[in-house]
Symmetry: C2
Subunit: 192 residues, 2 copies
């Protein structure tokens, strides 16, 4: 469907975000260069972290925006027992430890999205609750071995095997859990 902006740019290394934005049937380019360092300021509340990161990625974008260009940045975090879970360390033990923490519990997923143009900046968040079944050691072992979910907040992909066998309930947007609340993004782009 036709939109009024001239150019859409996604600043994200996440293949899921690229896939989700593609699903909106919009043309866009990917440009991941930003000087922003993803460091959480001491004392920041977990639920404020994704917006801090999404705004920071936009602020550190490596070049000036063009006339009519919209830049999309986003960040996703998992909050379980009041603790923020980002990506695990890139090893099986760290990923398995996160999954054992999520097993049999309900956690919160928050994604913040920031749309920046020369004239303005629109930002919003979306929250979903995700309930995992009680996972067996064999299931955690199989998933971390085969899928190596080291680039994912909370060490799981809702669209992967563990999301098929292990998630019994979502309250909110499924695509928000994947990394981009496309229903809100679409409506924001429709009014931009």
């Amino acid at each position: 469907m036709q939109k009024s902006f001239k150019k859409l740019t996604l600043c994200s290394n996440s293949p899921r975000r690229r896939e989700l934005l593609s699903g909106l049937d919009l043309e866009f380019t990917v440009d991941t260069k930003t000087s922003f360092e993803e460091v959480v300021p001491p004392g920041m509340a977990p639920e404020d972290i994704p917006m801090h990161m999404a705004l920071g990625k936009a602020g550190g974008f490596h070049r000036p925006l063009e006339e009519g260009e919209l830049l999309i940045t986003a960040d996703t975090i998992v909050i379980c027992n009041g603790k923020a879970l980002g990506k695990p360390a890139p090893n099986k033990e760290s990923a398995a430890a996160m999954l054992r923490m999520l097993s049999g519990k309900t956690h919160m997923v928050i994604t913040a999205v920031c749309i920046t143009s020369l004239e303005e900046q629109i930002s919003f968040t979306d929250r979903s609750e995700v309930t995992f079944c009680a996972l067996t050691d064999d299931e955690i072992d199989y998933y971390t071995d085969k899928y190596q979910p080291y680039d994912k907040a909370g060490a799981y992909g809702v669209q992967e095997w563990i999301g098929y066998v292990g998630i019994e309930r979502i309250e909110g947007s499924f695509y928000n859990v994947m990394g981009l609340p496309v229903h809100k993004l679409w409506r924001a782009l429709s009014t931009t």
Copy 2:
């Protein structure tokens, strides 16, 4: 992961069900031949329809099952305002009328699954609530033109464009809405 059954057979014409069963990383074959006719008995309550269909597809399977074989049959229905919505008539007007009915409302999706072997039959249902944003005429027009959702209960695919731009909330299993509650199927297969 290893399971104890010798052979898994899916009796379903739905490409979504094939994709979802593949996502469980199990080997299976597809055999869609059943003599069952999908006719709703007069007076049947909407929420009983999917189980009637799933059991019927299994009962009409065209050949005897083998020793150690599990047959999976399933059926999905959308219930909106107390009315059962199956697949639309294969034309744009019928699909658009269903989407206008779902727009801005919460509806229920029920999938019934039946696992049949020589020794026993296990069956279960799963329910999810789906809330659509208020859809514009342009959105309904674009989706029905481009995606022709004639083979889908309720005239929409949650995994397609309309599910990206138009669904603001799910309560329950996303994959149940796609056509197969894989978390329950996985656990049922684990104990079979």
